[in-house]
Symmetry: C2
Subunit: 495 residues, 2 copies
């Protein structure tokens, strides 16, 4: 382990706590994945990037992390309620497809978007529809423990009964007694004994497509049950971290806590982590709200609210520049600022590779690494670490301009720190494909040769040749800068 | 529909039959996918490419195809037998992982390899472990119909009983009575009434990890059951085409036929299609045989049997150049020939874009399209269609060399036919990334400039400069050829 001082803000205790895994070096991490009935939007990118940072940092610290991120392909009803149509089934009906065709299509597209954002693949990506037995078993266990009841082929969680032994609402701070008022009177709701009760299993109406046999007749699982069942299956009945968006805190995660306690007599999760929302003009961005911009639209610039296309790395950097527990407001200006900031950072890394070491350093850069670790150990505070890196960008540029100098030790330490944090932990890359790399080497070799020929021509006052070279390079959008220690070049439009 | 004359060789009848879908324009296509406990090898590329061709051609003809290709992540035991360890579980044990981590890892890598081969994603990609209930239900139906028996928590298919009402062996031509002799006496085999019987459900030993509750106690499904259950779920109890490698014909597909008839009283599949094997020195290539080369090794050239790296498109073309029902022998020479052939084809397509139309044609190319359709309608005979395309390559090159001429109608028709068959139906592309294209343009521009400088230096007998250029280019693996009409260059290792 590189560092034992990691602190995590636990949504359950509302405190920043020292992270102590149950069984080090292993860490179990469960994060709620997408409901695959539409393209991922900016709101989906935030938990993906946030918990990718968590995953990468924990691995960097030396933990062996099993990261489970589910795919919700059944049971998630409209308005996140216990009534209304299944989101996937509705899309299937509208597009005249088998529900699993809808699931496959949007899962493939989700994976594609995540790859663009450089999100590492989770260790296991279980599907709700692939774990019906596990969900039925859990519902049975809850029934057996007396915390659920069956009505007309459906099984509901008995919140009032549970609240006598445990505390329903301990995550969200809601009080059961007050939940009556806020609840709408929806069709079928009358099956429930209490408005706060929620479905573990729903009887399928005759027209419902996605249905499985169960001890209570044909039906389908309630939305909250999948995460409890799959978390327990792949991470055990108690595991380390459960993450998700703050919009899932209630009712989804509150219900998960209740289910685990009811079935197993204990909390499943040690640390609850919630990323805050992305807003547009202060309003939550969401599919159900209709004000979302899909990631593809960002990548292509194909939405009326966008002034330009944004590189996936810009989106990633934009998200990392805010602490995950803060809200983040979308605007073109903010994204353009992120784009510029990222370029500055990546350019500094390129510069770092080219800088020559001096005998001594005029600046002290030895604290950077420590400061970055301190920031990330403080509840994954990426923006603070990024600010420290930007301080060093200024130093790097001064060294480039010969205003400061760096010893070879300091230079090496800077290179390592940037690589560790920017590339490995933040997952930011200006990476080009292997093919691109090869081409890059060839271009670089050809440019060395051309600049040498130009230099020689100038020495011999062969202006016609040196002009020819300059003009031809200009024609290829290659800018040459002559300096005291030779010429440098860059391809415009790329930097 | 563009063409109604599609013929398919049906492995069941051993005849070439006219293809008549059950409910046009819909076509149901099921293909056995990989068991995800290792990287995909060349043997996996063949069914993938073969049924990608079938999928693409059927869609091209105007059919609405639902293509289901499964992921086997449970129940496939070693040696394809009913005893021995589960292939995925064994890998998980060796690598000290949860089985679903193994599944996720190799599924992700499989998808990556398929993408490289330009294989279209199937409409639905169901997992065996995600359909345990469906498999239990099917085993129950077979038990209820009297074609299976339970022994000690396992359920076996009763081949002898089935054979009284149906014909077991009708696909493979095997005779039940003769199967006794060939069967090895394996542990646990004694539970079976007849050596030809096969497991529908296996009792899990106490140490078995992947297990689910069932009416017969905790266990896991037999390998053959998943395809019957998932085929029925997503394509209905009777559907059009079932494909797979010839190595799956017996026992896997024979058992599938028996299961469907036993459960539903009717055959599930109208057309059985089997691609032949890829051999190395005449021997089947397979994971269990230990003589396989993974696709990644081909793409990287990182296997001792390979003389070079092979582009995924070369592999694809190599497979398409043989009819899917013929064996295909791997050798470096054959792959290098495929590489050259593909280059010739793609180069001709580039030439086609540049050729100028004449007022009249000196050759008749109007039959090409028809011939290509005829070839594909004849049991997807890609090699014959490719041969026709190569005939036209000669014509194209003659037109380029001004030895022949093409009218604008003929030119347009050739362009369309090549695009339709080479790009859309065969899925062959010379596509490079946009970034690669940009770099290519820069390299090309720099080379123009350098060759001009070299030319000038030579003119002025400045041998030192011209040598410097030559040496530097050699150092970058760029070969320059001087010819009557100026110099040309190529990057070695790329062509």
């Amino acid at each position: 382990m590189k560092n034992h001082d990691l602190h995590i803000t636990n949504s359950l205790t509302r405190k920043k706590e020292v992270f102590q895994p149950i069984k080090p070096p292993f860490v179990g991490l469960y994060v709620c994945g997408p409901t695959v009935y539409g393209d991922a939007h900016l709101g989906h990118a935030r938990p993906a990037v946030t918990f990718d940072l968590v995953f990468r940092y924990l691995k960097h610290l030396g933990y062996k992390v099993r990261y489970v991120r589910n795919i919700t392909d059944v049971g998630h009803l409209e308005n996140d309620a216990d009534d209304g149509e299944d989101k996937v089934a509705k899309k299937a009906r509208l597009e005249q497809l088998e529900p699993m065709e809808v699931v496959q299509y949007y899962t493939d597209r989700y994976h594609h978007d995540m790859e663009k954002l450089n999100i590492l693949k989770p260790s296991i990506e279980p599907r709700a529809s692939g774990h019906i037995i596990e969900q039925i078993e859990m519902a049975r266990a809850i029934l057996k423990a007396g915390y659920a009841y069956e009505v007309n082929g459906s099984v509901y969680f008995d919140v009032a009964r549970y609240n006598m032994d445990y505390k329903y609402g301990k995550l969200s701070g809601r009080v059961v007694e007050e939940m009556v008022a806020g609840n709408r009177d929806l069709e079928g709701q009358d099956e429930k004994r209490h408005p706060a009760d929620f479905a573990l299993w729903k009887k399928a109406s005759p027209t419902h497509i996605m249905r499985w046999p169960s001890p209570w007749g044909e039906g389908f699982p309630g939305w909250h049950l999948e995460c409890s069942a799959m978390g327990a299956k792949y991470l055990g009945t108690t595991f380390d971290i459960h993450g998700g968006g703050m919009d899932l805190l209630f009712p989804h995660h509150e219900c998960e806590i209740a289910q685990s306690n009811a079935a197993n007599g204990k909390d499943a999760v040690r640390y609850w982590m919630h990323n805050n929302m992305i807003t547009i003009n202060g309003q939550k961005m969401g599919k159900s709200l209709g004000n979302f911009i899909t990631l593809r639209e960002f990548f292509e610039g194909s939405h009326k609210s966008l002034h330009q296309a944004y590189d996936p790395m810009t989106i990633r950097f934009f998200i990392l520049q805010a602490h995950y527990r803060s809200t983040l407001d979308f605007s073109n200006e903010a994204l353009q600022a992120a784009e510029k900031g990222l370029q500055r950072l990546l350019q500094a890394m390129e510069t770092l590779e080219r800088i020559k070491a001096s005998k001594t350093s005029s600046v002290d850069v030895s604290l950077l690494e420590k400061k970055c670790y301190e920031a990330l150990n403080d509840d994954f505070n990426a923006p603070v670490a990024i600010a420290h890196l930007f301080d060093s960008v200024r130093t790097i540029n001064s060294v480039k301009d010969k205003k400061e100098s760096l010893s070879s030790d300091h230079l090496e330490s800077l290179r390592n720190t940037f690589k560790t944090f920017v590339t490995d932990i933040f997952g930011l890359s200006g990476e080009i494909s292997k093919q691109g790399e090869e081409s890059g080497q060839i271009i670089s070799g050809l440019m060395d040769l051309l600049l040498e020929l130009r230099q020689e021509a100038r020495k011999q006052k062969d202006w016609s040749t040196s002009d020819k070279i300059r003009d031809a390079l200009n024609g290829l959008n290659i800018n040459v800068k002559d300096g005291a220690e030779g010429s440098s070049w860059s391809i415009s439009g790329k930097n």
